[in-house]
Symmetry: C2
Subunit: 191 residues, 2 copies
DNA sequence: CGCGCGATTGAGTAATTTCAAATCTAGTGG
DNA sequence: CCACTAGATTTGAAATTACTCAATCGCGCG
């Protein structure tokens, strides 16, 4: 799994042996487009690293409307962290937007790796730090920008997304209705 | 600084010597109500741990309206992480809502502590994990709940906040105008 | 060719914002 | 202790924005 090794080596360096040690805890899994890795109510045992493809993580509100928490493409980690961490049932759906390959690791194994290899604990600390900053930026963006600006910012930051994900999903990520997004979009073309 | 030690020992255990080692990197600082620990444009050198009091972290939009990223009370860590991490100037204002005592640590010293003491790296990994989950919950709440529900959720989770922070700041945290929050609030009392 | 899904458009409705004014409250100085 | 002021909160009314619902359009796939 060169993808994962490259991913680690953006922050730390690993010998072949070390990487092999870590790798033994990961299981590969493939899911087809529109299939679920996780559904509301499931017990959550794994954290997932996306090797290829794309997932969307979303919840349904009381009116069954989906709200997208995260898109996870190559190199991204995802799961229902709240559920994995506390043991409560999942609230999050993890659905494949495309055929997707993931590497799965249990919380216990990840903790074990971190305990045994200081480097890996470092890796995940920094990774979490980046994740935290990313979410802060998103909150800031939700508070200070309107949907059009957020849309433009999103496709600037992740230009691949617009090719891979239907617009109504982007709307569900940005927090506006698909009609509103469509209108904002067409209005900005005029100007 | 028993507060900080207790805080660490919620997740890890430390000997007196270990704690003293860690402690030497922290500097104490007091700021008065309405004073700033950080202002937009500043170079950011420190991360702050709130020992007592309360801070608000906010940004101004292009119309100079404040949007609150975080309230930091006792036991919370805060700074402009984006700026601390990348070296760009601060976008965040860190202002004391009450007279506040913080412990300050530089990024370099924190990294050093983490590198030298695996335990501490573990502590901060888990802390970041919690932080990440917290922000995810907030995003979810912004996407799925209306302002009234979010307000009620907020004061249920942090009942102290409402005593300590003016309502217009809560509105700036929730992402609605103070007038709207006021109306939602009075409407819910009738029912 | 036609079906079906996603995207767009229109019209009416609901919610939120803005701006202005009126209250209320806590802290200050006399 | 009381009056006063600045800041905070509430209320009203008009304007803006986004939403819902329904209908239409466009395109790719079988």
């Amino acid at each position: 799994m060169q993808v994962l090794r490259d991913h680690f080596e953006k922050l730390i360096s690993l010998t072949d042996t070390e990487f092999a040690d870590v790798m033994q805890y990961f299981k590969s899994r493939r899911i087809l487009k529109k299939q679920f890795l996780l559904q509301e109510g499931d017990a959550v045992s794994y954290e997932y690293f996306v090797v290829s493809g794309c997932l969307k993580a979303y919840v349904l509100d009381e009116e069954e409307k989906p709200h997208i928490l995260q898109f996870a493409m190559e190199d991204w980690w995802t799961t229902d962290y709240q559920a994995l961490y506390t043991g409560i049932p999942a609230r999050v759906f993890l659905e494949a937007v495309e055929n997707t390959e993931v590497l799965c690791i249990t919380k216990a194994d990840k903790d074990k790796i971190c305990a045994e290899m200081h480097k890996m604990e470092h890796f995940f600390r920094i990774k979490n730090q980046h994740g935290y900053i990313g979410l802060q930026q998103r909150i800031l963006s939700m508070l200070t920008n309107n949907a059009k600006d957020r849309y433009e910012q999103l496709i600037k930051q992740y230009p691949a997304l617009i090719q891979r994900v239907p617009k109504h999903d982007l709307a569900a990520f940005l927090g506006v209705s698909r009609e509103t997004l469509s209108r904002l979009y067409s209005r900005s073309k005029e100007m």
